[in-house]
Amino acid sequence: MGEKAAKWIFWVGTLVSLALFLALTFDTNRRFAALTHADRLDDRVVAGKRSFERHNCNDCHTILGFGGYYAPDLTRAFNRIGEDGIRRRLEHPEAALAASYRKMPQQYLSQDEVANIAAYLGWVGGIDNHDWPPRDSAARWKRSTDRLLASAALSPGAALVEQESCLSCHTLGGRGESKGSRLEWIGARRDAAYIATYLADPEKVAPGAQMPAFDTLSPGQRETLGEFIVSLAAGQGR
């Protein structure tokens, strides 16, 4: 490689990357208003941001994952502990964190400042940042709620599993035989409707299936069995 080629690598590499970066910056800037719902970014929120900076909160806490790493991330603090929780910690950190092994300084904030910081954190909590942090992920909470609701209807499904002797072929937890698939694994792969249809006529859904048809059960009972099996799916997240 000669010096000329080396110069080309420098200029082409730099300028291509720079052009791409500036173009995307332009586009991102256009879309920030919608992604951060900037319409709700009022004077109180901005005053809250100024207070947040004046008291150097960000050198202990992280927010959107950036900052001091020493204290909890504040991206979803408002969603997690609400305005009252934030007020209590800001007004009387010595009391709120009396039992904690890490303290927060008492900064004697005015009532206005406290209210503004709470408004600011409320606004931050609504930024659409691809569901980060995982601990506060909306998708993960939804999955956990789905499982909770599914297990509330546990007994009728469990009764049907007993009544139809499913465990003479399948395994559930530590019980049953291993001729068929483990029920928890079925639940992780299939939805309730699929299982209900399958129960009515296995041969039709999966030709050559070993399992007998449970066409004597009512459609409602098959649906219940399906929901029960889905509720057994091995835990993901919470």
Partner: protein, 445 residues
């Protein structure tokens, strides 16, 4: 030293080293905060946040003064002329050092811009800009008057202009937090993975030319390729900071792709240094300078390249973002890429500035200092990494509350602090050694 005005570099080195020595004990105090419960009254008087602002700003200040000193040493030799205004260089050092001290005293009294790493209050920012303009004018005018351009100068001046330009994006107040962080990274990321890389490449090339005796044209050719690839991956690679701040989803692809390539230019630097050493026409002396250069090249690659790559892909970063994993990467990469670079340059330049015969110096304490500091930093980095992986698993994967997940991390912060003590011992030795560098005795030389 070939030119009289090169001597202005020395006071820069001295101030930089003193600030470096001050940075480490503050860092130790930060580690203590993690495993000891500091009483409320002490937290009220001197919060973690203040100590962190001091620790990081001292780093930035001493590195920048180190780079500036290196530049002032390098430019007369590259251009073959005296500096345009050597006295202004001294005035500028006084201005920047005073600004830095004012900022740090200000932090203690709660005077801050309140944005991590950019805590210097806005009125002082103006002084920083004035100081930078004095510096840039001095360098640029020297180069222009000399009318002799080399790739080393180009890379250096380009890096310094880029550095100064990006600083401006850190000054305004931004209403929208997402926009704020977007621009914050123009300063932080484009400094360390853009401007600093250009300056570093120039400094390394300059030292390699002088130390190995390899033909300048060969080394300068790589001086185009290496920064070219650094900037190609580094500029669009800024996207790896834009995953979770409220920016559009395409940044996950752009950031992931470009930052996955970021280790390659560093690998090229490793190869480049190795090749120059192989083709050298001069012996590798003094040994300690070479120990530093080798350490810099290796730890730069491990800290910035490998530790960076480990958590740069979006599917991993979703869990590691904003945890001690970042802290681990930050410490090793800054040490490898920029601390060792600056110290290497000091060891290269000071014997020349002081006119030691054969440019050799009494090395013994320096070796002990290097190994204590390096092993300390590596141990500290590994302890941060364990803490980071624990935090990632407990808080991000299992969903434990932050303070519950922090509990088992406290032990690893104790391990960090123990290594921090080793670093402190090493750094004090290095600083004392450099400030009292003596020519080698004839029997040894």
């Amino acid at each position: 030293m070939t030119f009289r005005s090169q001597s202005v570099a020395y006071p820069y080195f001295v101030v930089a080293l003193l600030l470096f020595a001050l940075q480490i004990p503050v860092g130790l105090w930060l580690a203590v905060n993690y495993f000891v419960t500091i009483p409320q009254s002490a937290v009220d008087a001197f919060p973690f946040a203040t100590a962190r602002a001091i620790h990081t700003n001292l780093l930035v200040l001493w590195l920048l003064l180190g780079f500036m000193g290196a530049t002032l040493y390098l430019v007369p030799e590259e251009t073959g002329t005296e500096l345009a205004w050597p006295k202004m260089a001294i005035a500028q050092l006084a201005l920047l050092a005073a600004t830095g001290v004012a900022a740090i005293v200000g932090f203690l009294f709660g005077w801050t811009q309140g944005r991590p790493l950019l805590e210097i209050p806005r009125p002082l920012d103006i002084l920083v800009v004035v100081g930078s303009l004095m510096f840039l004018a001095n360098i640029a005018v020297t180069m222009i008057r000399a009318k002799r351009w080399t790739a080393v100068q180009g890379s250096l001046l380009g890096g310094l202009l880029f550095l100064a330009l990006m600083y401006l994006f850190g000054i305004p107040f931004y209403r929208n937090l997402a926009v704020d962080w977007y621009c914050w990274w123009w300063v932080i990321h484009l400094w360390v993975e853009g401007a600093f890389e250009l300056i570093a490449a120039a400094m390394v090339a300059f030292m390699l030319i002088k130390l190995t005796g390899v033909d300048r044209r060969v080394i300068e050719k790589w001086l185009y390729v290496e920064p070219g690839l650094s900037l190609f991956t580094g500029i669009a690679g800024t996207g790896h900071h834009y995953y979770w701040l409220g920016a559009p989803k395409y940044w996950l692809w752009i950031g992931g792709f470009f930052s996955a390539l970021e280790p390659f230019p560093i690998l090229l630097m490793v190869y480049d240094a190795w090749r120059s050493v192989k083709e050298r026409t001069q012996p590798l002396l003094p040994r300690l300078t070479w120990v530093y250069l080798t350490g810099m090249v290796i730890i730069h690659f491990v800290g910035a390249g490998m530790f960076g790559f480990a958590h740069t892909l979006p599917m991993i970063n979703y869990f590691t973002h904003g945890s001690q994993v970042t802290v681990s990467h930050g410490h090793l990469s800054f040490y490898g890429a920029y601390v060792l670079l600056t110290l290497t340059f000091f060891y290269f330049a000071i014997p020349r500035l002081k006119g030691f015969p054969g440019r050799s110096y009494e090395e013994r304490t320096g070796h002990i200092g290097f190994w204590l500091t390096t092993l300390g930093v590596v141990g500290m980095t590994l302890a941060f990494a364990v803490a980071g992986v624990l935090q990632t698993y407990l808080e991000r994967a299992l969903g434990q509350p932050h303070m519950v997940a922090q509990q088992p991390i406290r032990f690893w912060m104790l391990v960090v602090a123990v290594h921090g003590l080793v670093v402190l011992a090493g750094v004090l030795l290095v600083v004392r050694h450099l400030l009292t560098l003596r020519p080698a005795r004839l029997a040894e030389a």
